[in-house]
């Protein structure tokens, strides 16, 4: 299942390769010999397709500890976030137009809130503590009588920091406010029991858990006052919340990936913890290296480290053939360091030299050791190139 022979892929937070078993499941549904019928059709071909959709919903529901009918299929977490946030904001706007989120959310959330701000909604942007975790008192202080929705991600995509969703949800519910959780980085990776967690809406995507790209889901809790306005119109599918013909092979792939994740989660977490600790032990003695998230508070598949006075884009290229993500958005269009790391209080210089290593199920000890050597060599080389003096 290794992604490719000529790269060392440590960017599993960006996306994962599709599990071969999932590929097999999806291929069986393609072509004239497969169950290609429209799952909404009232004939045997349609019913056969519908059975794959229902099975996948059951697999995903079992992973999450919920009922299959609470899940809406979408194109991915971005669409799920849009539907949850905009759908709630529009439906509740006559009750109030105040919304709350965090500065460290993914763009698929922050940009939605910015769009709503332009439409007249008021948004409070919460800043985490230096460890990346949101203080409950900060949320409590921000909730007002007219607050309609709080949106907070479970696992941060840059740092791996986990929010205490149970406590945040309890805080919201005690004040009659709905909680949306972007769980793109945690579904299938960390235990999530929606039967117990006070979550109203939760976004997820298949391609972060070894499923296909182009399919996601939105969980909508069964609560009498929880309704969304749809973003799309055109058919009666999925309770009219998300019309459109369902992509059966993608949905079946998502379901199978969820079932595999449920079966492997404990082993995956142990594997990732061991590799993450090995990676940090291999680079932590370099002068100027710092960890940007507390391992005790973070998902073990992700390690974000900064190194002082190293330019992020050059570090990324010097690390080739290692595929990792830079904490800096430094590119031709944007020289800004990571807004997530800046919101955590890191200096521009520290954020500039940040690298996100994200490990996955296929990652080997040899790959981690190679990454350690490449990182050490790249830091030495770039430091030797640099002149003294402040930029």
């Amino acid at each position: 299942m290794n992604p490719s022979q000529d790269i060392i892929y440590l960017d599993y937070a960006a996306t994962t390769p599709v599990d071969p078993q999932v590929v097999h499941t999806m291929l069986q549904l393609q072509g004239a010999a497969g169950d290609f019928g429209n799952p909404s059709a009232m004939h045997s071909a349609g019913w056969r397709s519908r059975a794959h959709v229902d099975n996948a919903a059951q697999q995903l529901a079992e992973l999450l500890g919920t009922d299959a009918e609470r899940l809406i299929w979408t194109s991915g977490a971005t669409e799920s976030n849009n539907l949850a946030i905009i759908g709630t904001a529009r439906h509740r706007q006559h009750h109030g137009r105040h919304l709350i989120t965090m500065l460290t959310e993914h763009k698929a959330v922050t940009d939605v809130f910015r769009a709503l701000q332009q439409q007249g909604f008021e948004v409070t942007w919460l800043r985490p503590e230096r460890n990346g975790v949101l203080d409950i008192a900060t949320l409590e202080a921000a909730i007002r009588a007219d607050t309609q929705l709080v949106s907070i991600m479970h696992v941060n995509n840059e740092t791996g920091v986990c929010q205490d969703i149970a406590a945040l949800g309890a805080c919201c519910h005690a004040r009659g406010v709905r909680l949306h959780v972007d769980a793109a980085q945690s579904v299938g990776k960390l235990p999530l029991n929606l039967a117990e967690l006070p979550i109203d809406l939760m976004s997820m995507t298949a391609h972060k858990l070894y499923g296909p790209k182009g399919i996601g889901a939105l969980y909508i809790a069964k609560r009498p006052d929880l309704h969304l306005e749809p973003l799309l119109f055109g058919g009666g599918q999925q309770q009219r919340l998300r019309p459109g013909t369902l992509p059966v092979p993608l949905i079946a792939g998502f379901g199978h990936a969820a079932a595999i994740a449920a079966a492997r989660m404990a082993d995956d977490l142990a594997h990732l913890t061991r590799l993450r600790d090995r990676l940090w032990a291999g680079i932590s003695d370099l002068p100027g290296v710092q960890l940007n998230s507390d391992p005790a508070l973070s998902y073990p598949g992700l390690l974000n480290a900064s190194v002082a006075d190293i330019e992020g884009e050059s570090l990324l290229l010097a690390l080739e053939p290692l595929c990792v993500a830079t904490g800096s958005a430094c590119n031709a269009q944007n020289q800004e360091p990571s807004y997530v790391l800046r919101a955590q209080g890191l200096s521009d210089a520290a954020a500039q030299g940040a690298i996100r290593f994200s490990l996955g199920r296929p990652t080997t000890t040899a790959e981690v050791d190679c990454a350690i050597n490449l990182y050490r060599q790249a830091v030495r080389t770039l430091r030797a190139l640099a002149p003294d003096g402040a930029a």
């Binding site: 006075d309 330019e311 884009e313 050059s314 290229l317 010097a318 430094c330 590119n331 031709a332 269009q333 020289q335 770039l382 030797a384 190139l385 640099a386 002149p387 003096g389 402040a390 930029a391």
Partner: protein, 127 residues
């Protein structure tokens, strides 16, 4: 379509910056601007640039550009430094226009080195 932002030439120069380093010489220039730092040092043989070295803190295009400058200007008259312009460099390395601001800092540093050398010569003649 190629989403790779680096030309082969940039990759090659970035990976093997043979002219990286600094020399004990009075002929030096250093500029920090546009979020980058760049330093050049040169030794001369008469009025000709004998050796040119650089130090750089910046993106891969900046490092590759500094190496390119050194390969192009070694063996040339020192007076060429003061008229150096980055047009050929931008084309040769296929530098995206968005990065031209940083590359112009390199032009400034090369010209500053030329000015420093010229000043040294002037002072020597006056002595």
């Amino acid at each position: 379509m190629n989403a790779n932002p680096y030309s082969e030439r940039v990759r090659e120069l970035f990976a093997r910056p043979a002219h990286a380093g600094e020399m004990a010489t009075p002929h030096r220039a250093f500029i920090a601007d546009q979020g980058i730092r760049i330093a050049f040092s040169a030794t001369l043989s008469g009025a000709v640039i004998e050796r040119l070295r650089f130090q750089a803190w910046g993106c891969p295009h900046v490092i590759a550009a500094a190496e390119w400058v050194c390969t192009q200007l070694e063996g040339r008259p020192a007076t060429d430094l003061q008229t150096f312009a980055v047009a050929d460099l931008m084309q040769s390395l296929a530098v995206p226009m968005e990065k031209s601001g940083r590359i112009l800092v390199i032009e400034d540093a090369v010209r500053a080195l030329g000015a420093a050398i010229s000043k040294t010569f002037t002072n020597t003649e006056q002595d």
